[in-house]
Symmetry: C2
DNA sequence: TTTGAAGTTTAGAATTAGTCTAAATTCATT
DNA sequence: AATGAATTTAGACTAATTCTAAACTTCAAA
């Protein structure tokens, strides 16, 4: 029988390319775009291609190792934080910040009741002005 | 002095094109994309161009007459509902549904405290399976 | 009633993010 | 070493959106 790569744990089956992409995301406090990840990964692995970054991101996302955030204004961003959490987005400069508001998680049943959806996750987004922009 | 169009209320200064775009959005229960709006607006106003639909959407959005929703998976969607509300997105078919969970609005101060942002609005997103997909 | 500035519309080109394709490569098992 | 599945690569392609520059509208002031 042929090896079933799928039986292994995600961490075990990382190719060099996937490893590099994961390291870029884990090494950053912020939320890089696929293009930023590509530029940085290329420093370690000069032959890596754009398509591979996207393939790797899809893989890592499905394996639960990274988290994708789409909030409009351009490209998806990737987050090393995979636990449930919330986001704040600056209306002025676009900065995206993670925070955790456990009370938001508690609203999942109420949200499910109102929407009639079978709930999987909830996520709260705050829009406002970030501390840096408030200063100016 | 030249007339300051900006002094008037948004509703008063709608061009035929902006009017047509607004009517398309107001006539629908769902959340059409720019392309869907373009196709429908063209039935009333055959010469309207794609760029004008986008210009109109930006204008209407800034005037607070429509609401833009970006949740990834392709194009922005536009919503006639401009009051604060929440969204549920189906992980299976991508359907987007509005609902209002006032408890979510109550979390704005707590979210501001955690994130250190000066708050403007909060919005809750539920991901799960919609009633239609649950049946199958 | 013409003028002209400001704003708007138009068509199409340009840009950007992301996906697809097909050939080449890797790699774990035989 | 040979096999075959999975992955990577480069570049073509697609879809969404923005940009550009010329033409058109509007309307207050001359």
């Amino acid at each position: 029988m042929v090896a079933k790569t799928e039986n292994r744990k995600p961490e075990e089956k990382l190719t060099r390319q996937r490893e590099a992409v994961l390291q870029v995301i884990r090494s950053r406090e912020d939320h890089p775009t696929a293009n930023e990840i590509f530029q940085t990964a290329r420093e370690q692995l000069p032959t890596i291609s754009y398509a591979t970054v996207y393939n790797s991101l899809r893989f890592l996302k499905e394996a639960g190792l990274v988290h994708e955030i789409k909030f409009g204004d351009g490209a998806s961003r990737y987050d090393r934080e995979t636990d449930r959490h919330d986001h704040a987005i600056c209306n002025e400069c676009g900065k995206l910040v993670d925070f955790d508001l456990p009370q938001a998680a508690d609203l999942i049943q109420a949200a499910a009741r109102k929407s009639k959806f079978q709930p999987a996750s909830v996520h709260l987004t705050l829009r406002g002005i970030c501390p840096d922009c408030r200063k100016s």
